[in-house]
C-alpha cells in the first residue's frame, strides 16, 4: 500500500503522471504558498517557483510554511517554497527564480501548467498573454477586501482557468482596459492589499483541484469555462451567470489561436545543439546574479573566522 492510496481514484497511473507534471507557481505568498504545500503533498514532481521577494513579518499570517526565523533571516520566499514543497514530496525538483516572472520565461516555457497568484491586473494580463502564446494552461486566483459604506468589510475573490482556445480573463470582464488604466493611474498610491489565509485557502484549494483534474480527471464534467466567484462573507463559490449565458455562445476573441508562438522567430537562426544554463545548475540567483543567499554568506563568514588562528 503506498502513501497515495487514498487518492488512487485519480487513476492507476496518476502518481506517475503527477510525478512527471511540471507546475509553475508565479508569486509565492498568500496564494502561492497553498499551491506549494498542496501540490507537494499530492506528489507533483517538478516545480518552477518564481517570486523576487524576501519574507517580511506582515507575510507571516497568511504564508503557509513560514516560520518566525524566516523573517529574522530575511529568507527568500522561493527558499521557503522549496522547503515547504519538499516537506510534502522530498523527491520533488524545485527550480527557484528570485526574479520577476518575465525573467524566468525559459523555465516557465517548460511547464505543463502555471498557477498565478500575482497582485495586479497588469501582471495577470501579461501572464495570460504569455500562456496563450505558448499554449500553457493558466489557473489564476485572487482575493480582495473592500470597505463598505457602514465601515464594515466584504471579502471576495475569484478562481479563473484560462485554457488555450478557451475563454480568458477578458472574456469574463475580470481584466478590462479600464481596470488596467485605473490601476496604472493608482500605482504607488495603493497601500498593502488586505489578505487573509482562509480566503486564499479556499481559492487555492479549488485551483489545485482543477489543476489535478486536467491531468488526472476522475469524472467527465461539462466543458464550460471554469470561473468561480468567491463570496468570502458567506463562504460561497459560484459560477457567474455569464458563463452559462453569453460566454457559452461566444468564443474568445482576445487570444486568437493563430497568434500562437513568437511572430519574430526564425528557424534559420536556431541551433538545436545550444543549451540554456543546465537546470541542475540553477538554484537561485540574487540581484547580482551570483549563486548565494544571505545565509550561505553568513555561514561562509563564520567558517572563515573559525579557521583563523
Amino acid at each position: 500500500m503506498t502513501d497515495y492510496v487514498r487518492q488512487s481514484f485519480l487513476g492507476h497511473d496518476a502518481q506517475n503522471i503527477l510525478a512527471e507534471v511540471r507546475v509553475g507557481l508565479i508569486g509565492y505568498s498568500g496564494g502561492g504558498s497553498h499551491f506549494g504545500q498542496q501540490f507537494g503533498h499530492i506528489g507533483v514532481g517538478h516545480f518552477v517557483v518564481v517570486d523576487p521577494k524576501i519574507i517580511v513579518a506582515t507575510h507571516r499570517p497568511r504564508f503557509i510554511g513560514s516560520e518566525p526565523k524566516d523573517v529574522e533571516f530575511g529568507r527568500l520566499k522561493v527558499d521557503i517554497a522549496e522547503r515547504q514543497i519538499k516537506r510534502g514530496n522530498p523527491d520533488a525538483i524545485v527550480e527557484k527564480f528570485k526574479t520577476p516572472w518575465q525573467e524566468a520565461t525559459n523555465a516557465l516555457l517548460e511547464c505543463d501548467i502555471l498557477f498565478g497568484a500575482v497582485d495586479s491586473y497588469k501582471e495577470r494580463a501579461e501572464l495570460e498573454r504569455f500562456c496563450r502564446r505558448n499554449m500553457i494552461p493558466l489557473i489564476d486566483i485572487g482575493m480582495d477586501v473592500r470597505v463598505l459604506e457602514n465601515n464594515q468589510y466584504t471579502i471576495s475573490g475569484q478562481v479563473i482557468q484560462s485554457l488555450p482556445g478557451g475563454h480568458c480573463m477578458r472574456c469574463c470582464n475580470f481584466i478590462t482596459d479600464d481596470k488596467l488604466k485605473r490601476e496604472a493611474e493608482n500605482y504607488g498610491d495603493a497601500g498593502p492589499a488586505p489578505q487573509v489565509i482562509w480566503a486564499n485557502g479556499v481559492l487555492a484549494s479549488t485551483a489545485v483541484g482543477w489543476g489535478v483534474s486536467l491531468f488526472c480527471p476522475w469524472r467527465d464534467v461539462p466543458k464550460i469555462f471554469r470561473w468561480l466567484s468567491y463570496d468570502g462573507d458567506t463562504g460561497e463559490l459560484k459560477t457567474p451567470a455569464l458563463v452559462k449565458g453569453y460566454l457559452s455562445k461566444t468564443p474568445c476573441t482576445h487570444h486568437p489561436m493563430v497568434e500562437m508562438g513568437d511572430p519574430l522567430c526564425d528557424i534559420r537562426n536556431f541551433d538545436p545543439s545550444s543549451r540554456d544554463v543546465a537546470r541542475s545548475d540553477v538554484t537561485h540567483l540574487n540581484d547580482s546574479g551570483t549563486n548565494a543567499s544571505k545565509n550561505s554568506s553568513l555561514i561562509s563568514f563564520i567558517k572563515c573566522l573559525l579557521r583563523r588562528p
Binding site: I136, G165, V258, I267, F270, R275
Partner: protein, 165 residues
C-alpha cells in the same frame, strides 16, 4: 528538442475529419498550421489550425492509401505563404501505441515537405501521423534533414503528454 503542442479540441477535430470516408481514397490527409516558439535548444510547434485536403484534390491511385493532387499542395503552400504558418502534413493510422510512418510515408514526405521552405523558409515544416490516442512526427528545420518530434502535448480538459524516445 522538438515539441509539438495541440489543444485536445483541435486534436479531436482532426481525428474526426481523418476518419471520414472518401469516395475512392482509403485514407484522408490534411495540413496542420502551427506557430513557432524557440528557446535554448527547444523548438516548440504550436498547432492552431487544420485544413483538410478537399475531396476533389485527391488523385485516384489505388496503390496508395491517399494521394494528393497538385491543387492540394498549391493550396497548402498558398496558406503558408499568406499566413506565416509552419505546415505539417497529417494523416492517421489505425491501432494503438505510438504510430509510425510507413516506408511510403517517409519516401513521399521526403519529397514534398522540403518544398514548403520555398514559400516559408523561416518556419519549420513536417509531417505527423496519428491514431486514436497518440501521434508521431518528423520536423524539417531546414530543407535538408528531418528530426523526430520528441514530445507531444495535448492541452485541454484532459491534458496529456508523451515522449516518442
Amino acid at each position: 528538442m522538438i515539441r509539438f503542442k495541440i489543444t485536445d479540441q483541435l486534436f479531436s477535430e482532426i481525428q474526426g475529419d481523418l476518419h471520414r470516408p472518401h469516395k475512392f481514397a482509403f485514407e484522408r490527409v490534411g495540413f496542420v498550421g502551427a506557430g513557432l516558439a524557440l528557446h535554448g535548444h527547444h523548438c516548440t510547434m504550436l498547432a492552431h489550425s487544420y485544413a483538410p485536403v478537399a475531396d476533389e484534390d485527391y488523385l485516384n491511385e489505388p496503390c496508395f492509401g491517399a494521394m494528393m493532387g497538385p491543387n492540394a499542395m498549391y493550396k497548402a503552400m498558398a496558406w503558408a505563404f499568406e499566413q506565416r504558418v509552419a505546415l505539417l502534413h497529417i494523416h492517421a493510422h489505425v491501432g494503438g501505441g505510438i504510430p509510425g510512418f510507413s516506408d511510403i510515408d517517409i519516401r513521399e514526405s521526403n519529397k514534398f515537405v522540403p518544398d514548403f521552405f520555398k514559400v516559408r523558409p523561416e518556419m519549420p515544416h513536417g509531417a505527423i501521423v496519428l491514431n486514436d490516442a497518440r501521434a508521431f512526427g518528423r520536423i524539417w528545420l531546414s530543407p535538408k534533414t528531418p528530426r523526430p518530434i520528441v514530445q507531444f502535448h495535448i492541452i485541454g480538459e484532459h491534458s496529456r503528454k508523451w515522449s516518442t524516445r
